[in-house]
């Protein structure tokens, strides 16, 4: 699929995904099954390759988060003006404004775009295909706790869930809670623990 398309074609992608049984998909499924059966590939290798294709920039997001965890003054700047704080790291931001929302012990944030596929692409690259699926776009606002549970995140009722619909000009990043013992970790260790899913908010514990 070419990437010089407008919004209309994103809609088409989402619709095809939902239809599911397009010809190319059948061929890919068949090939994968044969290659796995012959021991040439594992399902995990395929998933890892997909993640790499979909999120070429997740390491940039990880750099931002690790710095925020280890430098309180940077965390404050990131929360008050996300775009400027990201640009401090020489990451070129093309979005008008980056809003960083912070997870705390009592608050959990989830990012979605119900209208299409708005996403902080200049930082994270392309969104994952599930993010632009009609199912995620509709259910992330209508029944977000159930969606999170399907991602393996069972949020207690006592935790406040805030869903952010990036329907217009803002783009969002979640600042996850730092792991225990953050002070004993190296920056590299911290960055390696941060996934794309943490930055969208479908994963919580780092």
């Amino acid at each position: 699929m070419p990437h010089d398309h407008g919004h209309g074609e994103h809609e088409a992608i989402a619709i095809e995904d939902d239809a599911g049984n397009i010809e190319a998909q059948i061929i890919v499924d068949a090939l994968q099954e044969v290659l796995i059966a012959k021991g040439l590939l594992t399902a995990h290798e395929v998933t890892a390759s997909i993640a790499k294709l979909e999120s070429p920039g997740v390491h940039l997001g990880a750099r931002i988060i690790a710095k925020a965890w280890t430098e309180p003054a940077y965390r404050d700047r990131l929360l008050s003006d996300g775009r400027a704080a990201v640009q401090e790291l020489d990451i070129p931001v093309t979005e008008a404004r980056i809003i960083v929302v912070e997870n705390t012990e009592n608050v959990d944030n989830l990012i979605t775009c119900t209208l299409c596929s708005c996403y902080p692409r200049s930082i994270l690259g392309q969104p994952p295909s599930w993010y632009i699926s009609k199912a995620y776009r509709a259910r992330s606002v209508r029944e977000p706790r159930r969606v999170l549970a399907e991602f393996g995140l069972h949020l207690p009722e006592s935790t406040q869930l805030i869903v952010h619909d990036s329907n217009a000009d803002m783009r969002y990043l979640v600042l996850p809670q730092p792991p225990d013992g953050v002070d004993q970790c190296t920056i590299d260790d911290l960055e390696a623990r941060i996934s794309r899913d943490h930055l969208i908010g479908v994963a919580r514990d780092v």
């Binding site: 869930l161 329907n167 217009a168 803002m170």
Partner: protein
């Protein structure tokens, strides 16, 4: 000077505009409160049809109670949804409290 400030109660209008609009149906007619003023942006309804010469419009982040939005008994009271709404889609709730 902006029309609304953080904390103000607002209702999202149902303008019934045709074409490219970025205010989804699920949030129209709903009452929430202003969280943040985001600045001014060219109106996406104009940009979609190639008009770039009009005045930029104010944009706000507005918060809504999920339990009131969907009227489900099992949604925790403190869960919220925050969405961006352009100024011309908002009205002060005081103006509309008499509506049924």
């Amino acid at each position: 000077m902006t029309r609304f400030s953080p904390g103000d109660r607002v209702r999202v209008l149902a303008l019934g505009k045709a074409g490219h609009v970025r205010i989804p149906h699920y949030i129209r007619q709903q009452i929430g409160h202003i969280v943040q003023y985001c600045g001014t942006y060219l109106n996406s309804e104009d940009l979609a049809i190639g008009i770039t010469s009009r005045r930029a419009v104010d944009l706000y982040r507005v918060s809504f109670s999920q339990a009131r939005l969907w009227r489900d008994a099992d949604i925790p009271e403190h869960d919220t949804l925050v969405i961006e709404i352009y100024d011309h889609w908002l009205t002060s709730v005081e103006e509309t409290t008499h509506a049924p």
